[in-house]
């Protein structure tokens, strides 16, 4: 399983005085089982890029391959692609519309034309994946907290049993605990169900903690693509793109300046802790 993008160009308002290249000849391959963090400032082209991955928007030019098949080629089933590549939009809880939670999660698989038992099995399984048991099934979405509503919305996508799950800023507006809950659940989906994850985020600390590969977009182009450690080495360039590195990175550089022999590659709190303790023991 892989998604391959070849020179994806997408122009908003073409043939006017204000054409905008939202994605500018982007080529990249997303491999099976990766956990990708996608970062970039507002307007850098992240959301446009991810909408290409399940055929929601069609590139002005360029090719998209899913398992080496051209998704705009003859006989390619767009419906199947959309069930394989699940996209969770920003503020997905705004899309909850049924009167109870179980019905809401059933909506997607029901539209796939599956038998009723299978629809319910999938919905219940999806709700279990986001940590919501039977006691929630009959509740109205209005009775839930922000974080819970968002988990229901994610379950709605999971019920389609996707191979790839794309989440566009899934933690915006949630409190710290709610943030951790969502991200840990995503991590579990990745580890236990081998789901490929693409996480769009504005939190450098979060992508540092969870992603194994980071893609940085700026002006519609991929500027960096590598492990979080590799990417955050370019923290000065990231700043000029309106981004930053995790605070830990700044701490490591500041300690190095003071003569500490620390490894600058630490990007999470636990890595920094190990590194500082290691250096102190040596002193």
């Amino acid at each position: 399983m892989s998604i391959r993008l070849e020179k994806i160009d997408y122009i908003y308002e073409p043939d006017t005085a204000f054409p905008v290249h939202a994605t500018d000849h982007v080529s990249l391959t997303i491999h099976d089982g990766e956990f990708i963090g996608l970062i970039g400032h507002t307007g850098s082209g992240k959301s446009t890029l991810i909408q290409h991955l399940n055929g929601l928007i069609r590139p002005t030019s360029g090719k998209i391959y899913y398992n080496d098949k051209d998704i705009y080629g003859d006989g390619f089933s767009m419906k199947e692609l959309r069930s394989k590549v699940g996209l969770v939009f920003q503020y997905p809880e705004h899309q909850l519309f049924e009167s109870d939670i179980l019905s809401d999660v059933c909506f997607g698989p029901k539209n796939l034309g599956l038998p009723k038992e299978e629809v319910e099995r999938r919905a219940k399984h999806a709700l279990a994946l986001v940590g919501m048991d039977e006691s929630f099934y009959g509740l109205s979405p209005f009775e839930l907290s922000g974080g819970q509503k968002r988990r229901v919305a994610i379950a709605g996508v999971l019920a389609m049993e996707p191979e790839v799950l794309i989440l566009d800023e899934p933690t915006a507006g949630l409190d710290p605990k709610g943030r951790d809950e969502i991200l840990n659940q995503v991590k579990k989906l990745h580890e236990e169900n081998q789901m490929t994850i693409i996480l769009v985020s504005h939190s450098m600390e979060d992508v540092a903690r969870f992603a194994s590969r980071l893609i940085v977009m700026d002006h519609g182009k991929v500027q960096f693509d590598g492990t979080p450690t590799e990417v955050f080495r370019h923290y000065k360039e990231l700043e000029t793109m309106g981004l930053a590195a995790p605070q830990v990175t700044y701490l490591m550089h500041a300690l190095k300046e003071k003569g500490w022999d620390v490894n600058l590659d630490a990007i999470t709190v636990s890595q920094a802790k190990e590194e500082i303790l290691r250096v102190i023991k040596k002193k």
């Binding site: 400032h41 307007g43 922000g146 915006a172 709610g178 943030r179 504005h202 600390e205 309106g242 802790k273």
Partner: protein, 284 residues
């Protein structure tokens, strides 16, 4: 000292209605909160989703009225309907989504909307618009369409719209939740500047612990109650307690706390990279 906001034994209940419009229950969103805020303060309110902080903020300019208890803005009781427009002028609000609070097609017209509704003479409106845009650093964009601005810039325009009302107090309900790191920094710096140079009282609701560091007072809400109240350093020294309220601490505070557990004699309540560097260098 001069109190700008006084809250006495505030209770607010939402009523839940059944299918036939019958009352099926009540939810107490604010449960007996008393609080006073000094003029010129920068107060941050923390609390998990559903803790009551937005409900509290909406009481400060009479969007919500108390079920029981009283809220005063200056000398005005928010329940007094004669004062409602004075209250709204003196305490302006900025919300989470920049796209929901910009209404005009040109930046300067959007900023002028508030004072225009107050019946301010045209010449003075222009002066206020000019001054407000300057205060948020958006003068260069005054004739642009808000649609072409970034999220952080839109929020600064929204703040300018409030500043043009000449408020004593700005209440911000998660103004940075939808912004990228640069936009977040831009909005927070703007607010700090207004607080410092214009003396405007700021009440900031946020889920980003890093934004709270520069406040001079932090209030934590849980379950409709006020549970912690102190300086950022005092509040963030209590890592475990904050976590029990579903909150977090700034990353540097967390790291210092973890190092301390390993036996390093670091002081409590470290907030910034610089503080942790200094503390570590002093120790080694």
């Amino acid at each position: 000292m001069n109190k700008i906001i006084k809250i006495a034994k505030l209770i607010y209940e939402y009523t839940k209605y059944g299918e036939e419009g019958d009352v099926v229950g009540k939810t107490r969103a604010i449960d007996d909160v008393s609080l006073e805020i000094e003029k010129g303060d920068f107060v941050a309110i923390l609390g998990h989703n559903g803790s009551g902080k937005s409900t509290l903020a909406k009481h400060l300019n009479a969007i919500f009225l108390p079920t029981e208890g009283t809220v005063w803005l200056g000398e005005m009781d928010t329940k007094d309907t004669d004062h409602i427009w004075d209250i709204r002028q003196r305490a302006g609000m900025v919300f989470q989504n920049p796209d929901n609070q910009i209404i005009a097609n040109v930046v300067e017209e959007d900023v002028a909307f508030g004072p225009e509704n107050l019946g301010v003479p045209s010449m003075e409106i222009w002066e206020r618009v000019e001054k407000s845009l300057k205060a948020v650093g958006m003068t260069a964009y005054r004739r642009q369409s808000p649609n072409k601005l970034s999220g952080g810039q839109k929020q600064r325009v929204a703040i300018a719209g409030v500043v043009a009302m000449k408020p004593d107090c700005i209440i911000m309900d998660e103004p940075t939740a939808m912004l990228d790191p640069h936009g977040r920094a831009e909005v927070i710096e703007t607010v700090e500047e207004l607080n410092r140079t214009e003396g405007i009282t700021v009440v900031l609701i946020t889920h980003y612990m890093e934004e709270v560091i520069h406040a001079n007072r932090v209030i934590v809400m849980d379950d409709g109650k006020l549970v912690m109240d102190g300086t950022p350093r005092e509040i963030f020294s209590q890592v475990e307690k904050l976590k029990s309220y579903r909150l977090d601490v700034p990353q540097m505070t967390e790291l210092a706390y973890e190092l301390k557990k390993e036996g390093l004699p670091l002081r409590d309540g470290i907030l910034t990279v610089q503080e942790l560097v200094d503390e570590l260098c002093q120790y080694v």
